[in-house]
Structure formats: structure tokens, C-alpha cells
Subunit: 344 residues, 2 copies
Amino acid sequence: MDRTARRTENRYGNRPTMKDVAARAGVGLKTVSRVVNGEPGVTPDTERRVQEAIAALGFRRNDSARVLRKGRTASIGLVLEDLADPFYGPLSRAVEEVARAHGALLINGSSAEDPDREQELVLALCARRVDGLVVIPAGDDHRYLEPEIAAGVATVFVDRPAGRIDADVVLSDSFGGARDGVAHLIAGGHRRIGFIGDQPRIHTAAERLRGYRAAMEDAGIPVDERWMSLGVTDPERVRRAAEEMLKGQEPVTAIFAGNNRVTVTVVRVLAELDRRVALVGFDDIELGDLLQPGVTVVAQDAAQLGRTAAERLFRQLDGATLLPERIELPTRLIQRGSGELPPA
Amino acid sequence: MDRTARRTENRYGNRPTMKDVAARAGVGLKTVSRVVNGEPGVTPDTERRVQEAIAALGFRRNDSARVLRKGRTASIGLVLEDLADPFYGPLSRAVEEVARAHGALLINGSSAEDPDREQELVLALCARRVDGLVVIPAGDDHRYLEPEIAAGVATVFVDRPAGRIDADVVLSDSFGGARDGVAHLIAGGHRRIGFIGDQPRIHTAAERLRGYRAAMEDAGIPVDERWMSLGVTDPERVRRAAEEMLKGQEPVTAIFAGNNRVTVTVVRVLAELDRRVALVGFDDIELGDLLQPGVTVVAQDAAQLGRTAAERLFRQLDGATLLPERIELPTRLIQRGSGELPPA
């Protein structure tokens, strides 16, 4: 696929329209509309001419365009990986606001972190004629999207990069953020630091683990395998991981939590065990500042991720000449107490 | 519209299919497909016969069905009122799980609490051929949905009832929950109790205010107008409302917060003012049990709301004979400390 060429075209103008069909068939727009929508009032000969023009041009009825002509709006799709993860709330809302500013509707769906469902959902949205897609991918092979992109569907990945295709992506600096957060714990005197993260096949989880390792290596601290636990972030798994690190002769004195779901469970475990263990979490959490101690976090700007991705999408849709780009947003360490507790 | 009659039909079987078109035109299914999709390889005479059958039967290409035939899935739509409200996380996920169990995809969108956007989004989803809709309404007039429902789109409202049409709705007992929560504060010795809620045009907000008034009346406590504040639930408005109630010679000694967004802001205001004011919130909030004091709430089961609504939707889609029903789920008072503080 020649992406450069594709990107120099105006996406909206790329597909043959009913107007093109009408011109080629030598009929009025209303006649084309009647044929396409199976309405009566067209002679067999005219129908044939219209159908030939449709076939010659490769015209496909575009539901979005149809809706638009009726005075309604175009649409973009957003594919999340978990409808219940609060991290995606501000991200989704930001994408929606940008869409609205461009006169487009946003429709969402979730892959539930399953690559097959991601593909199914993306193709279902394409079949429903979204003009563009913002995707938080669950899978790591997005070649299935190539025909859709070639057909003019604008696409931007966010939070995690696309796999095996060259596409725009907007990310937070997961590596740098985790490295800074762990370095902050080391600067506070900790050496036995645990890392609890999401499944390593997930890009952000792998990057944050890499940041943890880098900070430990920079400080010359050999990492004990028992200090690292990666897997699904449901409360049961995270609870077991935290309890495991906190027991024995040489428990960890600090934990770096790989995302908001992990942080919430670790906060709960530490409260129940009544242990003064330092904690830095990746992602901010609601009310984290009002807990005792307040929860120190490496915050990413979820709304800015969504806004940046959506604006990029509409630049594609407006026909801008863009080469696929990787945009990385910085994270921010917010000290609130839990990350500043000294080693026990 | 004769809803009873509609409901005795199988929704899936209601619309003319390509098979019906093929039978009427006396051609094969593949031929109909070619005509509908504007593909070549059909003689003009055959095309004409197919177009006549399409017109006679009122066949409309059904994208869901088309996707389904390609080995993909049917779909249902979910219309929320705020993508960033954590209350909708478990509700959305529950709807998604039921959809998945029925082999259907879920696509979502948000009205952003704007009746016009709700209508625009609902009709856009219908234009994209969803088989059914779960709607958390922003508006109070849903007659615009009547043609869609008549055309076979299954519809269930959740969290708030439909307006001016007769439709299934699944609700929490907002009135009873609020009455119980306020009665709990009264039983703890409070008489000057504030109520901060959402805009009164929103059904749940109005019902919860009614519950507050009922509890006060049951206890023979006259309500001072200054104790009630209704409006948008952004932090600035709620903050001003709380501060207003807490100042002067006779401040409130307890606050009932009308939803999760209000509760979070009131918790923050009380922490900043360092005031021991009792608080009961409608909706549970994450980490509410770990705050000092823990936050007493009237919890609704958001996942159960979503599950019940989606199961009802699929019963409609399966062709069950159902009269429109109002299903009300109970709430649960969870005592954690803030609602048990005595009057200052």
C-alpha cells in the first residue's frame, strides 16, 4: 500500500459519490438515489444505466454521507479495551468533544482486551461507514485494517501502537514515567522495590516494566525475580502478587503499581495489612489525594491523549498530507505522601 | 402504534430479507446481492425484476444482516449520557457481556446530557442498522423513536424512563433509596440536612429530591429552601452549594449528595474545610471505604441495571410477547462512618 499517495488525497473526496454516478449515467441525482434505495419511478433502461455507472465507478452507498445529506452528521469510531476502566472516561470524552467540534458523531465499542473482538468491532464499525477510527488496540497485528485504510478510513492509534502496519499513534511516555517513579522511590532510600503490572504482551505494561528495570539498573540494584509480577489486573491476581512480595524475611519496602487498577488494589491491601509500604502508581486515581497517606502517582493526561489523537484524525480527514507519526506525551510525577514513605 | 401486535412478531423476521426479494424476483440470492451491492454480472432484465421486487417488498439493505452473513455479528447500541461518569462503567460492561453472550456486538455513544444529541445519536445508530437499543435518556420526549420501534428496533430504557412513549424501563429505586438515606441521618439526630442534586428535569434527580422531602416530612421537619440545591454536577457548582449550606448561624449538620459526582466534590470540600459534617451519598464511589471517615452510601447495582436491561432487550429480539414493563431494582444503604457522624 502506498501510504504517502493515499495521504495526499482528500479522504472525503476519495470515494465516488452519487453525483459521480449521476454524471456518468447522464441522469439526475434523485434518479440515482431512487435506484440505490430501491424506490419506484425509474424506467428499466435508466436503471440499467445507473447500475452500470455504479459498477464502473465502484460506488458503494455511504451511510454516513446519506445521513449527512439528511441534515445529520458524519461519524467516527473509538475502540477501547475496557468500558469500565476510568482511565478511558476522560480520553473518550475528549475524543467526543473534538468530534463534535468537527460536526461528527462518536460511536464507541470495546474489545475487552481480546484481539479477535477488536478486529470484529473495527470491521463492524467500518461496515457501518465510520469516516475514521481512533483505536486503543488489544492485538498486535493490524494488517486486517489495510483494506479499510486504503478505502479511505482515517485511522489513529492511541495509548498503544499499531502492530505490523504503519499508522499514526499517540502515546504517553510509559517508559520514562515508570523510570522516574521508580527512581523517586530509590532516591527515598528504597532498594527492594516491587513492580506489579498488566500482561507483558500489552505495550504499556512492557514499557513500564522496562522503565522499572532501567531505574534499578541506573542505581546498580540487582532485581530479584520475585519483585516483579505481571498478569491480568483483576483484584484477586494483584492482591496475591502484593501479599507475596510483602511476606518473608526480606519483603519489598515499596511497590510501583503499573496502572490505576493495580494501584487501587494495592492501596486496599496495604490498608488491610496496616503496613507502611511506599507506593507510586502509574495513572492518577480519583480521591487519591484524600487517602491517608495521599497516593503518589505518575499521571498521564488521558484527555490530552484523546484530544491529540482525535485532532490528528480530523487532520487526516481534512486531506492534510501527513506521514504516519508517533506522538509521545510526557507524564508527571505527583508527590502526595505514599511515594515519600521511607523504607520500613 | 399497536405495540402488542408488534411484540408478538419476531423482530428478526419482521423485515423483508434478500431471500424474500430473490423469491419474488425468481432469481438466486447471489443475483440479489449483486444488484443491491452494485456489482456487475446481472442482465438488465434481471436487474429490473430485482429492483421491482425490492420496491414491492420495501426491502432495505440491512448492514447488520449483511455483516452477519459475512460471518460477523449483529449489533445493539447503548446510548449513555456521559462517557466519563464511572457509574456507567459497570453498566456498559454488563450490557456488553449480555450482548456477547447473544453473539452481538455493542456500540456506544453519549448524548452528553443533551436531548438533541440523544436523538441524533439514536437515529444515527438506527441508520447503521442496530438490532436494538439500550437508552439512558437525556430528553423527555421519545416519540421520535416510534418509527424505529415500529420498524423492528428493540428498545429498552435504563436508569431513567422514556418520555411520551410506552417502553420498557429498568430503574433503581431512587425515591426509596434517598428516603432511606435521609431517614438514616434523621435517626442519627440530624434535623438541618442539606440536599445537593442534579438538574431537577433529570428523572433520578427529581426522584431523589422527592425521597429527601418524604423523609423530612415523615419526621415532621420543615425543610428550609436554603438546604436544597439542584443543578449541574460540575465541581464548581457543587462546591459553591456545599459552602453556602455550611456557613452562617445555622449551617446544615449533614448533607445528602444526590449522585457520585456530587459526593466526590462534597468529600473534598469537607476535607478542605476540616468540618465534621455527616454525609450520605447516592451511588457508591471507588475507595470510599478507605477514606477517613469511610463514605456512607446508598448504593445502586449499576451492573445489574445494565444486565437486566440487556436481557430484556434480547427477550424482545427473540420474539417474546412482552408488554412494556417498568422494572425497579432496590438500593442498599452501606454504613461506613460518614453517615453515622452525630450533629456538630
